[in-house]
């Protein structure tokens, strides 16, 4: 539980074909670890974006490692659309499971609770239902009148991965108010986390410090990766490097430009650290 390992050891947890849950850009994205994963080339990943993705998802797609993409959106934010995603969609390069944000959260919450599905309002009448045959419409069993409602199945990731400011040497991880990270970890079979630093003192020491903590019980492996979300930001620590994201957005427009960017990515990550 919460074993502190090297970045390479951590990345090795992501095996071909695994269902990998990743957070949105505002939540702490493990970008250093993404470079390490790309180096291992695990193909056929089923990437579950909670509930959306950006540069990380676009990179995994561009590297040809994604077999299934389950997401509510892919965007580079102010830098515009995600170019490798758009290109791959046009080519039908992977199985696309378009979703809507709260449905992704609901699927993970179902797994967190160990129940097979969760009901959710909305969605009925959307074209999402035409392809999401795994979402069912049921009658609300408690209503006397007709009340159709959608149920979404539990999403149990094989691996959840994210980047956080801090872990302690006992394997507890500070997640602050990014509570979807708790859900993602509790729903998954394994959770791997990169952090800016390791504290000697237990994060569970006081009531205040313990409030925003993911306990080691749910954490499989931790690796230290200073500025490990770069070029994305990390809440409470540093902002997004907008120039670098824009540089990626421009280069990734072509397959060649993307390859050139990725060539330098692992090296630049070490420099940025």
């Amino acid at each position: 539980m919460g074993e502190i390992v090297s970045l390479a050891e951590l990345a090795a947890e992501v095996k071909p074909g695994c269902k990998l849950a990743v957070p949105a850009d505002y939540c702490g994205v493990a970008m250093s670890a993404t470079a390490a994963i790309v180096a291992n080339r695990p193909t056929g990943l089923h990437v579950v974006c909670v509930p959306v993705t950006g540069m990380q998802g676009d990179m995994l797609i561009g590297e040809g490692l994604v077999g299934t993409l389950e997401t509510s959106a892919v965007t580079l934010g102010e830098a515009g659309g995600a170019p490798r995603f758009q290109d791959a969609v046009k080519k039908g390069a992977f199985k696309l499971m378009d979703a809507t944000c709260p449905a992704v959260h609901s699927g993970l919450i179902a797994a967190q609770k160990g129940v097979p599905f969760l009901p959710i309002r909305g969605i009925i009448g959307s074209d999402l239902l035409k392809t999401r045959s795994d979402w069912k419409t049921i009658q609300n069993p408690f209503a006397e009148d007709e009340d159709p409602i959608i149920v979404v199945p539990a999403i149990q990731p094989d691996v959840t991965i994210f980047h956080a400011p801090e872990a302690d040497r006992f394997g507890n991880v500070r997640i602050g108010r990014r509570r979807e990270l708790l859900t993602m970890a509790q729903a998954a079979k394994a959770t791997i986390v990169t952090v800016e630093r390791i504290s000697e003192e237990s994060l569970l020491k006081t009531e205040d410090s313990a409030a925003g903590v993911l306990p080691a019980l749910y954490v499989t492996k931790i690796a230290v990766a200073p500025r490990g979300a770069w070029p994305l930001g990390l809440w409470g620590e540093y902002g997004v490097d907008t120039a670098e994201v824009a540089r990626y957005a421009a280069m990734a427009r072509s397959a060649e430009g993307f390859a050139a960017y990725m060539d330098g990515f692992a090296r630049r990550l070490r420099e940025a650290a």
């Binding site: 709260p102 969605i123 009448g125 392809t131």
Partner: protein
């Protein structure tokens, strides 16, 4: 575009119109990349404060400073489902005459010709937020189509629980109301500098139109002063580039 006689820009008109459309709400959520809706909400907040009206709460999604949620990304949706979000903004690569919105792409699905980011929370928020304002600055036939290629979320529904839906459609040219019974838009007003014929020519779907189409209400001097002072300052915290652009427009106009 600058209105010389009254000295307000098209953007300022839109922001003031958004504030009017939000009048009466308690809590509005806006996206991290939606500076105009945020500006409209901030203008209403400032206005209410001066008038001694109830405080308007604004949640800017993805912002660290203007986000009081403590339960992660799911809280917005829970909060909405509980009926605690009164207004929200949705756009779309395509919007049709029945207020269906498409955030996914053009052409056949899934191998879209032009692919947009995706549905985000639209297939939930559109159903549950009582006052959804459809906002798209670009007013053109490629956006306002007869029928969307993909329904991310429908404008109207029958036989399901749906407390929310479209309240109005605001563009860079005009303001429309939506009639849920008729499943149709009706032109309410046209922004200064445009005519009803301009709007008709730039809209790919059919809609109702009054015999005489009024001009969209110009922002009052008080609203303009708030917008150019306090609201621009507040905006620069979350949308620095947009705040600079508003300041630049004013300098150009002066």
């Amino acid at each position: 575009m600058q209105n010389i006689s009254n000295h307000y820009s098209n953007r300022e008109l839109i922001i003031a119109t958004i504030a009017d459309l939000l009048d009466g709400i308690r809590h509005v959520a806006v996206g991290a990349s939606s500076p105009m809706p945020a500006a409209g909400a901030m203008l209403l907040r400032a206005r209410n404060e001066l008038a001694g009206k109830p405080r308007v709460r604004i949640s800017i999604l993805g912002s660290e400073e203007h986000n009081f949620f403590t339960n992660g990304g799911v809280e917005l949706f829970d909060c909405t489902a509980q009926g605690r979000v009164d207004a929200f903004f949705l756009g779309g690569g395509q919007i049709d005459g029945q207020a269906n919105i498409n955030l996914v792409g053009t052409g056949p699905y899934p191998q879209s010709e032009v692919r947009w980011p995706g549905c985000f929370g639209s297939a939930f928020m559109y159903y549950l937020v009582p006052r959804v304002i459809l906002f798209r600055e670009e007013h053109s036939p490629r956006v306002f189509v007869p029928k969307v290629d993909y329904v991310s979320a429908p404008g109207v529904s029958e036989g399901i629980v749906r407390p929310g839906g479209p309240h109005a459609l605001l563009t860079g040219m005009a303001l429309f109301d939506f009639d849920k019974e008729k499943k149709r838009f009706a032109l309410r007003s046209v922004h200064h500098g445009y005519t009803a014929a301009d709007v008709r020519a730039a809209t790919g779907f059919d809609y109702d139109e009054p015999a005489v189409v009024p001009e969209t209400k110009a922002p009052s001097a008080e609203n303009l002063a708030l917008l150019r002072g306090r609201v621009t300052e507040e905006l620069s915290e979350s949308y620095p580039a947009f705040a600079d652009m508003l300041r630049g427009e004013r300098k150009e106009a002066a």
